[in-house]
Amino acid sequence: MNGAVESISIFEQWWQNIQPGIQANTLNFWENLYKEIYMNIIQGDRWLQYLKGLGVTLEVSFFAILVGLALGTILAILRLPQVQGISCKGKGFWANLGAIVVRALSKFAGFYINLMRGTPLLLQVLIINFGIFGTVRIDKVIIGVIACGLNSAAYVAEIVRGGIMSVEKGQTEAGRSLGLSSLRTMIYIILPQAAKSALPSMCNEFISLIKETSILSYIALTELTKAGDYIRSRTFSAFTPYIVSGLLYLSVVLTLTWLIGKLERRLRNSDH
């Protein structure tokens, strides 16, 4: 009652109880399990580090998805057959020049997609960090967003292109015959329908992206995998921190899957 006696939690109590067993190396299975849980989650409020790592993973993933969607959609449009072969013959110098630029961009988009899909994300991350941003001191989160976003864009481009191609040609014709420009037809008529048919593949891509951000631990960004690595380097547990990180990834992915499933049902109800 003199204040020196602090009330200790039940977790601390159990930890004290298994101390003799740790010294003598005589823990049974359940005691060992508790030792792992205590050391890797409870001790030193380590669970907070997983949550912080999770926060970074979500932050990077969210913005990388936005970058990937925006850039990927542009790449997809550049790769459409009617854009690849665009011609403005006889429409004047500027229109011709524009067509030449668009055709060049289309070629570049194809090259870019092959390059990004043909090399490992890890290499891209390392090159962007140690090469392109080799002497620029910016937040690693930004580097992560750029690297993962640029990579994802290549995959998104192919998904969106597939989605656009799956929309019947008659839809474009109907839009154009009303007098809508090709851009407006794309925005108001084709893309909304393409998005719907691309949604399942897109969901897959988002899931991959979230998990692939784990590669950013290589550039010392403390995201969820790195948080597990860090705790493991402090507690020397063989795999417990990875299981905690893994469960957190799983919960994020399952939540995302559920949300997209809901969105898909809503889209289905609204038309077909």
């Binding site: 080799g134 001191r137 010392a220 690595d229 493991r232 020397f236």
Partner: protein, 249 residues
Amino acid sequence: MKKFLAMILAMAMMLGCTAALADETIIVATNPEYPPFEYVEGDAIVGYDVDMFDAIAKKAGFEYEFLPMDFDAVVNAVATNPNTVGLSGISITDERKLSVNFSLPYVNAGLVVIAKTGSGFTTVDDLKGKIIGVQLGTTSDFKAEEITGMENVAQYKTFLNAVMELQGNKIDAVIIDEPVGLAILASLNDPTLEILDIEILADWYGIAINKDNAELQQKIDDAITELQNEGYFDQLAQKYFGGGEEAAE
């Protein structure tokens, strides 16, 4: 529920099995990206630790083979496999002693701080709040965390990456084992990097040995004692550090 129990059982058996495996060949877990202690030359892993361990094995009379891995995996590998030892310039720390035993200490490498020339850092206090690069799970990592706080330590997979980030001025300093730092600086030959005159108290290196393998520990310790008496460590220090280092007594 039955399935769950079966899975638990299977896992427990897996853990048990590894303990029961008693083979004569010792697996040496190492992170060979750590010159001059262990590094790859051609196809072979070479270095201070490698020479020493070969001498130990000859004295103690066992076979061994190397298993390269990330440094942060070495201690875990030892903790879970009785016939695995960790030979990777591992500092003997209380935290690690919770998971593994250590041989007699064999060398004190010492830590140094690398920074850009003209950084103006002269004491450990100057490093407070600065971004310090290290290799994850090394003594440098632990020391850096004490000095500048967890959120300011940038942990890389290798020391080389940390030094390269320093070259690009993306971090403020690198804390690193002295021989490793010297070796990296020598190969980079970058005049904008320098070793600061700041002393950071370091720990002795030891070979990590599984807690259940007291027999192996005895063999290794005996061999180290013998080698010390023969003056072997002085030769080794001469070969790899050109003298200067504090070898085991």
